[in-house]
Amino acid sequence: MTKTYVGKADAANAMETLNVIGRGTPRIDGLDKLTGAAEYVDDMDFGPGLLHAAVVESPHGYARIIGIDAAAAEALPGVIKVVTGKDFPFTFGMYMKDRYIFAQDIVRFAGEQVAAVIARDARTAKKAAALVEVEYEVLDPLLDPLKALADDAVLIHPDLGSYEHVPWFFPKENTNIAHWRKTRRGDLEAGFAEADVVLEDEYTVPRYAHCAIEPHVVVARLDGARRLTLWTASQSPFTQRDVFAQALAPLGFSHQDIRVVTPYVGGGFGGKAGVSMEIIGAALATVVQGRPVKVRWTREQEFKNTYQRQGVIARIKLGARKDGTFTAIEHDLYWDAGAYVEYGANVVNAAGLSATGPYRIPAIKIDSLCVYTNLPPGGPYRGFGYSEFHFGLESHITRMAHALGMDPVELRKKNAIVEGDLLAYGEPMNPSGLIEAIDKTAAAIDWGVAETSDDPNVAVGKGLCLFWKAPAMPPNASSASFLKFNEDGSINITVSGMELGQGYLTVMAQVASEILTVPPAKIRVETPDTDRNPYEWQTVASHVTWSCGNAVAAAALEAREKIFKVVHDARGYEEGSLYLEDQQVKCDTDPDFAMALSDFVIGGIQMPDGTFRGGPIVASGKFMPEFTSALSDPETSQGGHPNVHYTVGAAGVIIEVDKDTGKIHVKKAALAVDVGKAINPVLIEGQITGGLLQGLATVLYEDMRFDAGGRLLNPTFTDYKIPTSKDVPDEIIPIIIETPQPDGPFGARGVGEHTMIAAAPVIGDAVADAVGVRLKDMPITAERVAMALVSGRTDET
């Protein structure tokens, strides 16, 4: 029988049969969410003392602040205080400190916070904010990253050279380049020289909004003892505490003075990672000591002033031999990173390390440039750079297949990366079921079988693309877990990953359940409170199943050891002969022995003389990857080990295109992803259906539009359309591949983001297949397809 390793490849803990892992255990938060019991930040009560803040925003993309007159606002009854940048001349940022809590002398994007009004009620705060008069000298905004790269471009951050940043960023002083990730491996010139076909082109991807249905919200209170507590809708309670502590250090705060509590979160998708608007709450609380103050973003602010997915212009040059073997790739990515890149520069970095896609290519040159523009701050969004660069890359690979006269799936299989192949940064690829994913996806959409419609006005097309993604994390990002038993043998686990909807709490319960044989329904996993729960870096990068799963497994294993020791101490059985089954301790050498966990996990085991052995079973676990390093040659990215592993897969679609209107209808979508081990297949299917639809929307209709001043034109769900229940594919086929990740809990690796990455290029390919038009700019809207057909474009496909 195959053994499944529990945590880090630890043979001693291998389990032969799995009872909970691999089952579609119902979500342990299901009842909370189906009864209204689930509490989100905005649902929490803070009593009649709660204050409300409204923010004064810049109406300009780029302007100098000449003066601020708050007299009229301050005079409004009910207003407690008006604060401006002068009150908080402190910088903040996660990977690079390039932001101020409020704009100082310059506003760098439309929507940026210039001042805030704190009032007794939200309506008064909003009214007063409109009375704050800000005089601006309007400047010409830089909205195009290529223009921002020009020699004579205005410097959006003249002080770039002085900003504190992580060691793996390389800002270029006296330019608008906040970070430049260069990856070089092999002989590029020779690679292109030996190619029979070299294909070069450019692709563009606009900005996108996360659109979690819950807007950002923070309640912050500085109490009389100068303890600062924040309740935030966040993916990152511990990282937030760290950023707050650093930003407010000039006011005397350190980590021990700050507590971040995060209850359920109404969707994140990267938008609630790090710190964005929450810094305003943290600052405002310090000026109204003793009173809680709430800042809740409106939907419009949600669009304008959180993180946005960055736009990118990608230039790709790919070389291949006649037989399809890739010889060289040059991939230049110019990111429209926005006004502040404290988080977004790491998106640029991640793409710069991986923009080969999941392919074996011997000669590589990647330049990924993080360019400041006067648009809202770019940042993390499901896929973290990979959703962005896969559109161009995968479109390009299909076109290379056509140029070579090869089947696009065959070309992909020929070059698909397998275990041991060298990654762009020179380390070997982890175990991967990519070939299996390609085959199963191709079979699911009957690849190679042409389909037609009975309607002569409808063209049918197919596409199949690959994807990959690694978590982008600092090399020492870690997870920790506390576990305690209760009298009835139930368990409470505290962790600090966030339940964003992905099912994290359920998966953590399953991991502990498998090891301790306590059913998931008897395990509570608690949402974070930085005072009480142990450390977690952030819930991003699709890494918590893997990383925190390892931490929970470690805690469960420690609890099991303690349980066995108590039984050994009280009853004398060898610890190695004891095992757990159905919430009881049993013994290999004494088949008659069985002791229920509930008999002793709190009160211990009674001895013949009336004394007790044992006591409450409590345990902890942690996980940190100890093999990663961000130290590498800045000119080549060789020499480090920045990524822990890659998750790979494939997506395929069958679409119908209306030749008159250009409207695209997705009839069938199949998505195969190598999850290592499916801890909960139902939750993975949820990631596939949800992520795929989110990705399809980015290619079919979502699009952020800005005017010449850098102002967002469509900051509502009326004008920025996200899918409804009527916009789903007719059929979705989820395909789970399981090639174990040796250092994952039960072999699992992450899956959350990956499901949206290939959606965009696969539609581009299917449109080209259906109507012979290759669209190289996202989104591929009905209008653009129809216009291309009307204009008689016959681009190569």
Binding site: G30, T35, D45, I213, R299, T506, I688, F717
Partner: protein
């Protein structure tokens, strides 16, 4: 200027002072303390604040508190008088939701459908919940649970 309204919320009578500008959503969340209707967009786009108003779904952000005088409001907290409805049970069992923020609105829209159409098609379910935006699930897991609940039918009340 304050108005005094009388309304029933989840079967309980309330007498509340409201200002003319307060939305019904604000009144429910802040003055009645019913928190399942969520604030998602405050302009009728997202459906997170869906409630049953005299038995029909409306968006509480688009109604004024003063309008609710003499009316009856039911929220997620009030639909399962003696435990969960079959619909809620199936949605729990089938892990229909992810973040859960849209769930209170979606459940009420689906509940209303099942009141009028006990055996809906998948298309009818999609139509009924099409005013409730969900960014997480891709909707299939929700539609499947509504169809399953319809197949089983409402629990017999003893």
């Amino acid at each position: 200027m304050k108005h005094t309204i009388e309304m029933k919320v989840n079967g309980e009578a309330w007498v509340i002072d409201v200002s003319p500008a307060e939305s019904l959503l604000e009144v429910l969340r802040e003055k009645v303390g019913v928190k399942s209707p969520k604030i998602g967009c405050e302009r009728g786009d997202c459906g997170s604040c869906t409630i049953l108003y005299d038995g029909k779904t409306i968006r509480a952000c688009l109604a004024l508190g003063v309008e609710a005088d003499g009316h009856e409001v039911t929220t997620l907290e009030g639909i399962g008088h003696d435990g969960l409805t079959t619909l809620q049970e199936k949605m729990v069992e089938m892990s229909s939701f992810q973040c859960g923020f849209c769930a209170p609105g979606v459940v009420l829209s689906a509940h209303e459908l099942l009141q009028h159409e006990p055996h809906p098609t998948a298309g009818q379910v999609q139509e009924a919940i099409s005013g409730n935006l969900c960014r997480c699930t891709g909707y299939d897991s929700i539609v499947d649970a509504v169809l399953e609940a319809a197949r089983i039918g409402p629990r017999a009340v003893s």
